[in-house]
């Protein structure tokens, strides 16, 4: 029996789809059998980030409406991994075309066969959000250290609680260490203190993300990129949640005065 995660954020543009693609590709590279569901009906994008946009025949709405024989007909196999699949969103329909019950049934079916079911949630808190979270037992909350994104994340935490999904785990995305150090950007501690949820990982702002999206190749497979490394750490934590050595780590500027002075003078020497 597999596990279903929903990747959600409230606010758009914080990196849900990129995150879903990377977790999916990452699990697949670890030998897990993974299926991704793009629940953003009407604004299909996960296919593009994965480089699978030319292979779509059927979509999520076709599956729940029974227009294809089974979900198997709609799922697209990844180019790189035989054990990674995608059920794309419909581009011509709207969010009301699917119900939470249908999503729950679909996820239950998929969990029989796959180790991980990852659902890419649309932005917002309306019908699409309710669909996306319906079939998941745990939520992964993506946010950036910006006031608007954190506020929306807090709203999502409340809604997940109301739907009895429990507390989500947090991925803090697009962190700029240099800005945090100068006090220009909220630190990991700041965001965690405000949202009060468990931290799953920190993904630094990285140009490699833009490049990899442009190419349709998930950054997690890029051995040298900072963001890729961050995603691989997140995958480890999802795989073995009890391993304490895998706790998120990144200098976020909370090194204290001595550390700052030390580095300042070290810089002056150089």
């Amino acid at each position: 029996m597999g596990k279903a995660f929903v990747i959600t954020s409230g606010k758009g543009g914080v990196g849900k789809t990129t995150c879903t693609a990377n977790l999916g590709a990452g699990f697949a590279s670890m030998g897990k059998k993974v299926i991704l569901i793009d629940a953003d009906i009407g604004l299909r994008n996960l296919d593009l980030v994965l480089g699978l946009e030319n292979r779509i025949v059927f979509d999520l709405v076709d599956v729940v409406e029974g227009k294809c024989r089974s979900f198997r007909q709609a799922m697209i196999k990844d180019k790189r991994f035989d054990n990674l699949y995608l059920i794309p969103a419909s581009q011509s329909r709207d969010k009301e075309a699917v119900t939470p019950e249908q999503m729950r049934d679909l996820c239950d079916t998929l969990k029989q066969e796959f180790d991980y079911v990852l659902i890419d949630c649309p932005a917002g808190i309306e019908h699409g959000f309710k669909n996306a979270i319906a079939g998941a037992e745990e939520a992964i909350l993506v946010t950036t250290p910006e006031v608007s994104a954190v506020r929306d994340a807090d709203r999502i935490i409340g809604l997940l609680e109301a739907e009895e999904k429990g507390a989500p785990r947090l991925i803090l995305n697009r962190v700029r260490k240099d800005m945090v150090r100068k006090g220009q950007m909220m630190s990991i501690d700041d965001v965690q203190e405000i949202l009060n949820v468990k931290l799953l990982g920190i993904v630094p702002e990285d140009e490699a993300i833009v490049v990899s999206s442009n190419k349709g190749e998930p950054v997690v497979l890029n051995e040298t990129s900072k963001a890729g490394k961050a995603y691989r750490e997140i995958l480890q934590r999802l795989e073995s949640p009890s391993d304490l050595s895998l706790l998120p780590s990144m200098t976020d500027g909370s090194e204290g005065l001595i550390g700052r002075l030390f580095r300042f003078f070290a810089k002056a020497e150089a």
Partner: protein, 126 residues
């Protein structure tokens, strides 16, 4: 010398003005989240309004079009504020008032009609 000045600027950026952007963000978020989490839905407010009008109307004839009701937020508190303009006191209301508050209620009788019309009751519920 110029190098030193630059270093001082650099130090300022660490300890001075720029520290506030993150701190400001955190403080603003803290306050806005208190407000978000205590927000009352328009539906609930409508139900409250209807029931309150029901209760008040048993005793007072009220100027409905000018009734104002809403949530007032201050720094760290939140209040339900209602302004209910009174047209006149109903007969039944007067009878009830006479029964329950013969001693304390001399105020109402001594008040002119116009005065009463413009008197506003303002209640705060925590």
């Amino acid at each position: 010398m110029l190098g030193l000045l630059r270093k001082i600027d650099f130090l300022k950026s660490w300890f001075g003005d720029e520290v506030s952007a993150a701190a400001r963000a955190k403080e603003r978020l803290r306050i806005v989240l208190i407000q978000d989490q205590s927000s009352i839905s328009p539906d609930l407010l409508e139900v409250l309004r209807e029931e309150m009008i029901g209760v008040v109307s048993r005793y007072l004839e009220i100027d409905l079009p000018h009734l104002e009701m809403g949530i007032e937020r201050k720094e760290e508190s939140i209040a339900l504020a209602a302004t209910i303009p009174i047209v006149r006191i109903r007969q039944e209301g007067r009878a009830l008032l006479a029964e329950t508050a013969t001693e304390t209620n001399s105020n109402n009788n001594g008040m002119g009609k116009m005065e009463r019309r413009h008197r506003r009751s303002r209640r705060h519920y925590r």
